[in-house]
C-alpha cells in the first residue's frame, strides 16, 4: 500500500474515533445537565406558573405570539431557565450547537461562569504543555540515550528515579516544589504576573517563561525520568544488534553511533510519546491547580460543584459548556497528536508502509 493511501486511511480512522469520542462525551455532558435539572423542574414550573398567572397582563402579548396557554408558557420558561429542552435528544442537540459555538469566539466572549474568554485559559494550558513536553523530550532523550548507550552510574540513577517518580503522584511533586519554593522565598508571582500582563494586552514569552517556571519544573521532575527510562530500554535492546556492534568495532565516535541509534529507535519512542501524551496533559491540569495557574484545570475544577444551601437543601453549580470545552480540547489535542504521530510513523517506518 502506498504511503499516501496509508496516510488517508490513518486520517479517516482517527477522525472516526475522534468523532465518536466527542459524541460520547457530549452525551455525558448533557446527561449531567438533564439529571441535575430533573430534581427541581417541577418546583421551577410551579413557580413560573404562579408568576405568569398573577402577572398575566405582562405576558399576554408574548403568549399570544407564541400561541401558548399559561401552562405551556410556564413550561416554555422552565426549559429556558434550566437550559434544557423537553426531551433528552432535544437537549443533546441544543448542547451540540451551543457548546461548539464557544470555539467561534475564543478571544472575545467570556466563557459562561468564568471571568475570561476561553482563549485565555486555553492559551495558558497550551503554553505550559508545550514548554513541558519540549523540556521532557529534550532532557529525557539526552539522558535516556546516554544511559542506554553508555550504562554506568547514570543508567542506575535513571532506572531508580523512573521507578520512584512513577510512584509519586504529580500533585504531590507539585505541592513539595511549591512548599519548598515558598519556604525559601523563590516563588515567582506566576499567576499574578500573567494576569497583570493580560490586562495590559497579551503577555510576552518572557512573562510566560518566568510565570510558568515552577509548574514546569514540577512537571519535568515528575515526567522526565519515565521518558528517559523508556528510551534507555529501547536503546539497550537496539545496542545489541549487529550493525551497532559493527559500528563500535569500526571505532566510530560515540556521538555518531548515538545519533544513528536515535534515528533507529525514534519510531518506537514516538509511539510511547503518543501513548503518554494524555497522561502528561492530565498532569499539566493538576499542576495548574497546585500553582494556581488559570488554565483548563481551573475551568475543570470550577465547572461542577455542590453547594450547601440550608435550610432548603443543596444547589449545584454546573457549567456544561465549560466542561465540554475542556473535554473537547483534550480530545482534539489527543487526536492531533495521535494523527501526526501515526502519519510520521508511516513515513519513518518502512514496515508500516508495506502493510
Amino acid at each position: 500500500m502506498g504511503a499516501r493511501r496509508q496516510v488517508g486511511k490513518v486520517i479517516v480512522k482517527n477522525f472516526v474515533f475522534f468523532t465518536v469520542a466527542v459524541f460520547v462525551f457530549l452525551i455525558l455532558v448533557t446527561s449531567a445537565q438533564w439529571k441535575l435539572t430533573q430534581y427541581k423542574i417541577q418546583d421551577v414550573f410551579t413557580q413560573n406558573l404562579k408568576v405568569i398567572h398573577e402577572n398575566r397582563q405582562y405576558f399576554e402579548a408574548q403568549m399570544e405570539k407564541l400561541g401558548m396557554n399559561e401552562t405551556e408558557y410556564a413550561w416554555y420558561w422552565t426549559y429556558k431557565v434550566l437550559r434544557i429542552k423537553p426531551t433528552f435528544t432535544g437537549t443533546l442537540e441544543y448542547y451540540f450547537k451551543t457548546s461548539l459555538s464557544v470555539f467561534k469566539d475564543l478571544g472575545s466572549a467570556g466563557l459562561k461562569g468564568f471571568s475570561h474568554p476561553m482563549g485565555y485559559y486555553l492559551k495558558n494550558t497550551i503554553v505550559i504543555l508545550i514548554l513541558v513536553e519540549l523540556c521532557i523530550l529534550a532532557v529525557g532523550t539526552y539522558l535516556g540515550l546516554r544511559a542506554g548507550y553508555r550504562g554506568g552510574r547514570l543508567d542506575s540513577v535513571i532506572s531508580t528515579m523512573a521507578q520512584l517518580f512513577s510512584a509519586i503522584p504529580v500533585w504531590f511533586i507539585g505541592a513539595v516544589v511549591f512548599l519548598l519554593a515558598w519556604r525559601f522565598s523563590v516563588l515567582p508571582d506566576f499567576a499574578m504576573r500573567i494576569q497583570l500582563a493580560s490586562t495590559e494586552g497579551s503577555p510576552g514569552l518572557g512573562e510566560y517563561a518566568v510565570g510558568f517556571a515552577l509548574p514546569a519544573i514540577a512537571m519535568i521532575l515528575s515526567a522526565t525520568w519515565e521518558y528517559a527510562f523508556t528510551l534507555r530500554n529501547i536503546v539497550v535492546s537496539e545496542r545489541k544488534s549487529d550493525h551497532i556492534t559493527y559500528d563500535i568495532a569500526r571505532g566510530l565516535p560515540d556521538g555518531r553511533i548515538m545519533k544513528k541509534l536515535l534515528r533507529v529507535v525514534f519510531p518506537s519512542f514516538l509511539t510511547y510519546t503518543t501513548y503518554n501524551f494524555m497522561d502528561v496533559f492530565m498532569s499539566v491540569l493538576v499542576i495548574e491547580l497546585v500553582f494556581d495557574v488559570p488554565g483548563l484545570g481551573y475551568i475543570l475544577l470550577h465547572s461542577f460543584r455542590v453547594i450547601n444551601k440550608p435550610p432548603e437543601g443543596v444547589g449545584f453549580v454546573y457549567y456544561p459548556e465549560a466542561i465540554f470545552v475542556v473535554g473537547f480540547a483534550m480530545l482534539l489535542i489527543y487526536f492531533i497528536n495521535s494523527l501526526l504521530t501515526e502519519i510520521v510513523y508511516v513515513y519513518l517506518d518502512p514496515r508500516v508502509r508495506r502493510q
Binding site: 469520542a21 510512584a167 509519586i168 503522584p169 494556581d292 437543601g313
Partner: protein
C-alpha cells in the same frame, strides 16, 4: 524474590492498618465528618502535636485538669497563645458561669461572666476580648489580634516596648457555676496529623478513609483487568466482534478520564443531607473500569493475535483443536502474566487517580479522595498546611512503590525471564 517480599510486606501493613482503623477511629467522628459544629472543640488549621519535637513551641489541645473543686490549672510555657479557651457545660444545661483567672505575674481578671447554654468560646466573642483588654489595661493592637485569632494574647502575653512577650508559668482558672463545667484549651497543635480549616481531625480521614480507598483501588483494578482481558481475548478470536471491541477500547482510552469522572458524579450520584454527593462504590468502580480497560484490552488482543499466529497453534488448529481449547491451553499462558502485571499497575494508577479526582473536587465517599478535595477547597498548599498534603502524599507513594516492586518481580519472573539472565 526480595522485591516481591518487600512489596507484599508494605501492602500487608496497609491492609492491617485498614483492618485496625474501625477500632481506632470512633464511628461518631466519621458519621459527623461534615457536621461542622461537631469539630468546634478542635483548633483550626493546626499542625500535628509532634512539630514541638522539631523546634516549635506551640500549645497543644486538651481539657484542663480540675485541681480543686472549681479550680483548674494551666501550665503555659509556649511561644504563642492558645487559639481559644472553651467553656463546656454539661449536656442540656444552661446557667450562669463566671471564670476568673490568676496569671503568673499576679494579675486577676474575669475571663467570662454570663449565662451559657452551649459550648462557649472566650476568644471568638468580641465583647469578652475587649473586656479582657480593658481589665489588662491594653489599648493597642486589639482589633488586629481579634482579626488574626490571637485574642488570648492579651491574657498570656505582655507588651514590652514594641514586642509582645509570653508570660510563662501557672495560670489558675476559678469557675463559679451551679454545675460541673469543663474548660478546654484549644491549642495550636492537634493529634498525630493536625486539623483542617474546620478543626476536623486529619487522622480520622487518613486512617478512617483507608479501608474504602483500598477497596476501591483493588476492586477497580480487578474489574478493569477482567474486562480488558475478556474483551481482548474474545476480540482477537472473532473478526467482527474484534473490530467492535477494538473500537470500544479505543474510544474508552481516548475519553478524558477526569472530565468524564466529574460528569459521572451528578449522573450516578445522589445528594446527602450535608450537601455532599455520594456514589455507590460499585457504580464508581464500574464507571472507572469502563474508562480504564481500553489499553489493557488492546494489549491483550495484540498478545492473543501474536500467539494465535504462532506455528504450534496453527498446528493445533490443523489437528482439530477448538478455539476454546487453544485459548485455555496456549493463549492464557501468555496472557495471564501480563494480566497480573496490569492488575498491579492499574492498582497503582487507580490510587493516583483517586487523589487526582479528589484534587478536582470529585469526592465520592469517605476515602483519600475526600482528603485531597479538602486540600484544594481549603487551599491547604497556599496556607502552608503541609500536614494535609505530606502524609497522604507519602502514603500514596509508598503503596505505589510496593505495587511496582511486585509488578517488577512478576515481569522479571514470568514475562521477560531472559532479561534477568
Amino acid at each position: 524474590m526480595r522485591k516481591m517480599k518487600a512489596g507484599f510486606a508494605i501492602l500487608l501493613i496497609y491492609v492491617l492498618l485498614a483492618l485496625i482503623s474501625p477500632h481506632v477511629i470512633p464511628a461518631e467522628d466519621i458519621k459527623n465528618w461534615n457536621y461542622k459544629t461537631y469539630w468546634l472543640k478542635n483548633p483550626r488549621m493546626a499542625p500535628p502535636e509532634w512539630v514541638n519535637l522539631f523546634g516549635k513551641n506551640l500549645p497543644p489541645t486538651g481539657n484542663l485538669r480540675e485541681e480543686k473543686p472549681g479550680e483548674y490549672v494551666y501550665n503555659f510555657h509556649y511561644d504563642q497563645p492558645p487559639q481559644d479557651i472553651l467553656i463546656i457545660p454539661p449536656a442540656n444545661w444552661s446557667g450562669f458561669v463566671e471564670v476568673k483567672v490568676l496569671t503568673p505575674d499576679g494579675k486577676r481578671v474575669t475571663l467570662y461572666s454570663g449565662t451559657i447554654t452551649r459550648i462557649t468560646s472566650t476568644e471568638k466573642a468580641f465583647f469578652t476580648v475587649f473586656d479582657l483588654a480593658r481589665q489588662m489595661g491594653v489599648n493597642d493592637d486589639i482589633s488586629d489580634m481579634v482579626v488574626k485569632g490571637e485574642g488570648l494574647k492579651i491574657l498570656f502575653f505582655r507588651k514590652e516596648g514594641d514586642e509582645w512577650v509570653p508570660v510563662k508559668g501557672k495560670y489558675t482558672f476559678r469557675v463559679n457555676a451551679s454545675s460541673k463545667i469543663t474548660l478546654r484549651v484549644v491549642g495550636r497543635t492537634y493529634g498525630p496529623l493536625g486539623t483542617d480549616s474546620d478543626g476536623r481531625d486529619i487522622a480520622v480521614i487518613f486512617l478512617g478513609g483507608l479501608p474504602q480507598t483500598l477497596v476501591i483501588v483493588f476492586l477497580t483494578a480487578l474489574t478493569t483487568v477482567l474486562l480488558g482481558t475478556a474483551t481482548g481475548l474474545f476480540g482477537a478470536l472473532s473478526g467482527k466482534l474484534g473490530a467492535l471491541v477494538e473500537g470500544f477500547a479505543k474510544v474508552s482510552s481516548m475519553l478524558p478520564l477526569v472530565p468524564a469522572m466529574i460528569l459521572l458524579v451528578p449522573i450516578l450520584g445522589s445528594v446527602s443531607y450535608y450537601g455532599t454527593i455520594g456514589i455507590s462504590t460499585g457504580a464508581f468502580v464500574l464507571a472507572q473500569s469502563l474508562l480504564l480497560f481500553g489499553k489493557v484490552s488492546q494489549n491483550v488482543r495484540t498478545i492473543t493475535m501474536t500467539e494465535l499466529s504462532k506455528e504450534h497453534i496453527l498446528a493445533s488448529k490443523a489437528v482439530g483443536g477448538s478455539e476454546l481449547w487453544i485459548l485455555k491451553r496456549h493463549v492464557l499462558k501468555a496472557v495471564l502474566p501480563y494480566a497480573v502485571s496490569q492488575l498491579i499497575l492499574t492498582a497503582a494508577k487507580v490510587i493516583s487517580i483517586i487523589s487526582i479526582l479528589g484534587f478536582f473536587n470529585v469526592n465520592f465517599g469517605f476515602n483519600w479522595g475526600e482528603l485531597l478535595a479538602m486540600v484544594v477547597t481549603q487551599r491547604a498548599i497556599y496556607n502552608g498546611a503541609w500536614w494535609m498534603v505530606l502524609p497522604v502524599g507519602v502514603a500514596i507513594t509508598v503503596i505505589a512503590i510496593a505495587l511496582l516492586l511486585i509488578k517488577s518481580e512478576v515481569e522479571e519472573r514470568f514475562i521477560n525471564p531472559w532479561e534477568s539472565l
